[in-house]
Symmetry: C2
């Protein structure tokens, strides 16, 4: 296997889609991915950083290892100040039908067209940490295999079920057994006013610019609009922060 | 004024420090900065986007305007897909003594050595939206004039008091009238167990890698450790999300 060539291929979406692989960069993330049981195909490291114990772990997982000069590593890396190690990992979004059909209090975090990959990854990390049973990325959302999604998810992508689908497929598949849809909006009832005994919810977070899509008004079962109370003069919160706060609030009664 | 040359100078920290200026990029942000009353020195726009109403507003604020070919704009811009407009704004962190001396429930969000500029800006945006009376960035934190801080703060930097200082200066200045220090840690008491009648707190968020600095054990007045409850298997939250959740939780009793 030509590992540097493969990394270069995976820098483009086409390459990632064809190979069902992602690049996870940075020592902490690579260590975490190896621990998570994800399918690590290969490790690439710069020659100026000793990675012996990480290499030992990688060999136990049958991952191939390549070491290249620092200059070549930096050219292949996606970050501005590369730490010197990355992993190539098999990863495919799961099918919607494979998602948990009931998740206790929050069945799913639904990412509705958030394009910033850092926000998308951070939202998946929030979903894992704050008790959503799965994450569903709708059409219009950043490519889940984007290296910034992988980095900002900090391993959560490999420890938490994530599906990718379209809004209309979600409507068709969830049908009558759908969870209660909570739409994060700017002008709805305060999130603290939600009854504490609600169960089986799906929290929908839209992009900061456009909010959740208008289609939700045609959703066949119950939806509720919720808003995070903010100070006067503050226009909005970062989308990932909003996801974190709403999931945190909902974890209160869990 | 040679606006393109000034933008180029401000792309380096040295230029920003010497001129006490920042670059705010993107149509939404420039509009917001003009509304905020911040000192907009100049506007630079690409020639392929009509900005008439924005230019009108800028002229009312006595800002100079320059239009350059799109290719030149893209070279000057800090973002990967520039929207075609940016503002040069006078901005200096305030002095610690100019911060509010009592802020009701949360007097300050203290950023303790967070290096990622996107996280730092998002934290300032959280502080404004969720009711911290000011933000204090300690030594080791990203340059507050970094263009990514400005973008991710989404105008909050111009609407909310922000100071920059060192830990030891903070200790010397706050002295005995210090707010109660809440340290966000991974293994403290759950944040929901805080008494609802606490007032005048300072929430300290450290970096994801290192947490809050060890020096806090020598803080001369009361400190408390607090933790956001997380699911088993989840290692941590993004620093800005953690700030958002803690400020949200504390705004409950406000």
């Amino acid at each position: 296997m030509n590992i540097p060539k493969l990394v270069r291929e995976l820098s483009r979406r086409k390459g990632r889609d064809e190979r069902d692989m992602v690049v996870a960069e940075g020592h902490r993330l690579v260590t975490d991915v190896l621990q998570s049981g994800a399918g690590v195909v290969a490790i690439l490291a710069a020659d100026d950083v000793a990675q012996d114990s990480l290499f030992d772990t990688a060999r136990k997982h049958n991952a191939e290892i390549a070491v290249v000069p620092r200059k070549e590593f930096d050219e292949l890396a996606d970050t501005e100040t590369p730490s010197g190690v990355l992993a190539i990992v098999k990863w495919t979004p799961a099918a919607l039908d494979a998602m948990p059909s009931s998740g206790g209090r929050v069945r799913a975090l639904v990412i509705d067209g958030v394009q910033d990959p850092g926000n998308v990854g951070t939202m998946i990390r929030c979903a894992l940490a704050l008790g959503a049973a799965c994450t569903i990325a709708l059409d219009g959302t950043a490519d889940l295999r984007n290296p910034k999604v992988i980095r900002s998810a900090m391993g959560a992508l490999f420890r938490h079920p994530v599906a990718q689908t379209s809004w209309s497929e979600l409507r068709d598949r969830w049908g009558v057994a759908a969870p209660m849809i909570l739409l994060a909006v700017k002008d709805g009832p305060g999130i603290r006013s939600l009854p504490a005994d609600l169960r089986d919810m799906a929290v929908v977070i839209g992009s900061e610019g456009h909010g959740v899509r208008a289609d939700w008004q045609d959703w066949p079962s119950e939806t509720r609009r919720v808003t995070i109370p903010m100070q006067p003069g503050a226009e909005s919160l970062n989308a990932a922060v909003a996801a974190g706060i709403i999931l945190y609030e909902l974890s209160r009664g869990a």
